[in-house]
């Protein structure tokens, strides 16, 4: 069963201990950038996940690395843990504060510092919004390749913390290979540059280990991300199928043919209808599934690959193949895919978006299981996912006000995760573990395996002060909120 957090939701007024902490933080930053009011703390107690009940301590909005250092140092002196936070769009509860930590909101550190063409990197602060960076780079001939669905609001710092993906990570890879160097403030307050602009910096690959560590190893304050050249030619195809299985088999066959498309996204009929109703992109609403495939590169090659994908689709039973004729048409097709999660508001007020990965050859089989699981729990499921890399995103759509509904949603979700693991898959492709999947970690890893993950974490943060209570399951190193013992009783209300 997925665990929902049921901590005391009352946001208390401060204790004397809090007052002393606040006073020091306000002196180090500025009074208006250290908040402790009920509204701010209630807001920071949640993120975009379904989990609630986090309890936030003081909320700080630093502007510089030096201010982050000051917050770390003051927090340590007061024996308080810290939680970094970007836009709060995470879906695994990674930003939820546990044990009334000091929340370090990095949204105001949002400057693009330097575009270094010779080294093909952009130096950015962590609060820079993903799409803002790409909009800045496009006219210069480049872009930032990771493009999560939340890219209009999510931050680069959050992308680093979660090793975020997105549709176009099929050809270009998720965030990790696009990050060259990271300035990090450790929980100790020390500042360190991980990685470097050269291809093989000396020492252990600390940069590689930091990306995707969900805020548990320290706080990124400056990030050098790789500039990816814009491709001169793009072809976008929309293929319709009479079954989800045929769409999934087409995806497997394209990969097996040695084609590496920029993106391959599948939408099933229910989400296609919702999207079409929302954006009117011309998606075929009578198809059981559609495949949105994109190839980019040079003119001749993209034509060849588009033809091959089309032929593979038709060979696997595609009922229609449409090639976007204009850039406007292509953008409209992508708007459909990228606003899919907004489109479901027409259907029900709540959704729970899952995120597992299975071997590509098992896509059809696991999808069939997902529909069966949802039907058995009487929950509406829609599937819109990064098919090209086997990354499933079953979307459970529901009305949380209905008695017993949330329990059914969690039960169905648990079975979906189990089905993915049983098919040789993994717990998360791009959302992370956070608090959502901690309990499942033991389904994928032995105690020895988890113990070693804890050893990595403690190499950076021996006292487990950065984002405690996340990723590793209870009973393992840093999983339990040690800082709680030192937290004044007042903060629990």
């Amino acid at each position: 069963m997925l665990k929902r957090l049921h901590r005391n939701r009352t946001v208390s007024s401060g204790s004397p201990e809090d007052d002393a902490l606040l006073e020091e933080l306000r002196a180090a930053l500025a009074p208006d950038r250290v908040r402790f009011d009920g509204a701010e703390r209630a807001l920071m107690g949640r993120d975009a996940s379904v989990f609630d009940g986090g309890v936030s301590g003081p909320v700080c909005f630093p502007l510089t690395t030096a201010e982050v250092v000051a917050i770390m140092t003051i927090s340590e002196r007061h024996n308080r843990s810290i939680v970094p936070r970007g836009a709060g769009t995470g879906l695994a509860g990674g930003a939820i504060p546990l044990g009334a930590p000091v929340v370090i909101a990095l949204t105001r550190m949002n400057r693009i510092l330097e575009i270094d063409f010779d080294n093909r990197v952009a130096w950015v602060e962590p609060g820079v919004i993903n799409l803002d960076l790409t909009k800045h780079l496009r006219p210069l001939g480049y872009h930032f390749a990771p493009d999560p669905s939340s890219q209009q609001v999510c931050t680069i710092g959050g992308n680093v913390a979660n090793n975020s993906g997105g549709p176009h990570c099929l050809a270009y890879g998720v965030t990790n290979p696009h990050v060259r160097a990271i300035e990090v403030v450790l929980a100790s307050g020390e500042v360190v540059m991980l990685g470097g602009l050269d291809p093989e910096p000396p020492g252990f690959d600390l940069r590689g280990a930091f990306v995707g560590s969900e805020g548990t190893l320290g706080i990124a304050t400056r990030i050098a991300v790789t500039l990816t050249p814009n491709a001169p030619a793009v072809r976008t195809l929309l293929l319709a199928f009479a079954s989800v299985e045929a769409a999934a088999n087409t995806v497997s066959a394209v990969i097996a043919e040695g084609i590496v498309p920029a993106a391959m996204e599948v939408l099933d009929q229910k989400i296609t209808q919702a999207v079409e109703n929302f954006v009117g992109a011309g998606y075929p609403t009578d198809a059981a599934a559609v495949l949105l495939a994109e190839v980019d590169g040079l003119e001749d090659g993209v034509d060849l690959d588009a033809d091959r994908i089309s032929a593979i689709g038709l060979g696997n039973g595609a009922t229609s193949v449409r090639l976007a004729e204009t850039e406007a048409e292509r953008e409209l097709l992508w708007k459909g895919r990228k606003t899919a999660f907004g489109a479901i508001a027409q259907i029900a007020p709540d959704y729970y978006l899952h995120d597992t990965v299975v071997p590509r050859s098992k896509l059809a089989q696991v999808l069939e299981q997902i529909y069966e699981i949802a039907a058995r729990h009487d929950v509406l499921v829609m599937n819109v996912f990064h098919a090209g890399d086997g990354n499933l995103h079953p979307l459970l759509v529901f009305d949380g006000r209905i008695e017993g509904m949330l329990e059914r949603v969690h039960a169905a979700g648990a079975e979906i995760i189990e089905a993915s693991i049983a098919a040789g898959g993994v717990l998360s492709g791009e959302h992370g573990i956070g608090v959502e999947k901690q309990a499942y970690m033991s389904r994928m890893f032995s105690d020895d395996d988890l113990d070693h993950q804890g050893r990595l974490r403690k190499g950076f943060d021996p006292k487990c002060r950065a984002n405690p209570g996340k990723v590793l399951p209870s009973g393992h190193s840093c999983a339990d909120i040690q800082a709680l013992r030192a937290v004044p009783s007042g903060v629990w209300g």
Binding site: L197, P199, V426
Partner: protein
């Protein structure tokens, strides 16, 4: 607690048994980079990792291989299915290549070694078999131990089995050479060259992909100078450097000072433009770690290998 992903391969269990939990131990592959990071304590027991390709699923673009398998053997299996990996083809074993972590000559074509390692199983200092990462091409489940293990020279754990991402061998691969052409202009002109190499007089370019794309890029290159086809890359001098790509401008211009690149007149060099690798006749000066990085490295080493029994004598941070 049992895990769905714990290996039941007897060869790995036997390797863990061999490594045991006591006394200095080192694992030797082909020894092609044996002196990297310093010589291992001669008292250490020398063991070999198990061999064999465990599972190659061409349609998944992944392969699982025991660490003692040679890169050449792996490539033979993959080549039959039209695939390759990021591992450098300089001889040696898969485990050695991952433990060293050095990229091949054209990582922009094959991908980097670090990004290609999806899952590792290794024997810990306590003699336990540990699994890290996952077998799928996309995975953010838990801490990224495969990244930490890659390039760690066997000082944190001894690699037993590795799952790698593969990629398709391009339809056409073509090396071109020119003289008196600005290699940086070449790098800026091409969309995704697999390699742009240069010394102080010549430029070598590796174009890969659809034949039509390779021809189109060749035509664009012709606007910069006269390129002729050649059989392969130029011979590479002995010592490998890692520099920011921008630093190669001074190297190619003969303006490096010995720290920023080999000094002019110090022998032949080949620079990988846009990447930052450099092969020179003299070694790169030591690149000491800053104190904070050093302390993280030190904590990691003592967390993973409290008694210092894994590859004693070897340290990171020296080229």
């Amino acid at each position: 607690m049992t895990s769905a992903l714990v290996s039941n391969d007897p060869a790995l269990a036997a390797f863990a048994e061999l490594v045991g939990d006591d006394g200095p131990v080192t694992v030797r592959g082909s020894g092609t980079r044996w002196e990297l990071g310093g010589l291992v304590d001669p008292e250490a027991t020398v063991v070999s990792a198990p061999v064999g390709v465990v599972d190659h699923i061409p349609a998944e673009m992944t392969v699982t291989v025991r660490a003692g398998t040679t890169v050449a053997q792996l490539q033979e299996v993959l080549g039959g299915a039209g695939q390759r990996t990021a591992l450098p083809g300089r001889g040696g074993t898969v485990g050695g290549a991952v433990a060293v972590g050095e990229n091949g000559l054209y990582p922009r074509g094959t991908g980097t070694v670090a990004a290609s390692v999806l899952q590792v199983r290794y024997v810990s200092a306590e003699g336990r078999l540990v699994t890290a990462g996952g077998p799928t091409v996309k995975n953010v489940t838990g801490f990224d131990l495969p990244r930490l293990m890659t390039g760690s020279l066997g000082t944190l754990g001894l690699l037993a089995e590795i799952t790698l991402r593969t990629n398709p061998i391009p339809g056409l691969s073509c090396w071109l050479e020119a003289e008196a052409v600005d290699p940086f202009a070449v790098n800026d002109l091409l969309l995704h060259p697999s390699a742009v190499l240069a010394d102080d007089a010549r430029v070598w370019v590796l174009l890969e992909g659809h034949a039509a794309d390779v021809e189109a890029e060749s035509r664009r290159l012709a606007t910069l100078g006269t390129f002729v086809e050649r059989d392969g890359p130029p011979p590479l001098p002995e010592h490998r450097w890692s520099l920011p790509p921008a630093a190669l401008r001074d190297v190619v211009a003969g303006a490096a000072d010995g720290a920023t690149g080999p000094e002019p007149g110090s022998g032949p060099f080949v620079a990988s433009i846009g990447v930052g690798h450099l092969w020179a006749s003299q070694p790169q000066p030591p690149r000491p770690l800053d104190p904070v990085t050093q302390s993280i490295n030190g904590r990691l080493k003592s967390n993973f290998d409290p008694t210092g029994r894994l590859n004693p004598g070897r340290t990171l941070g020296r080229p």
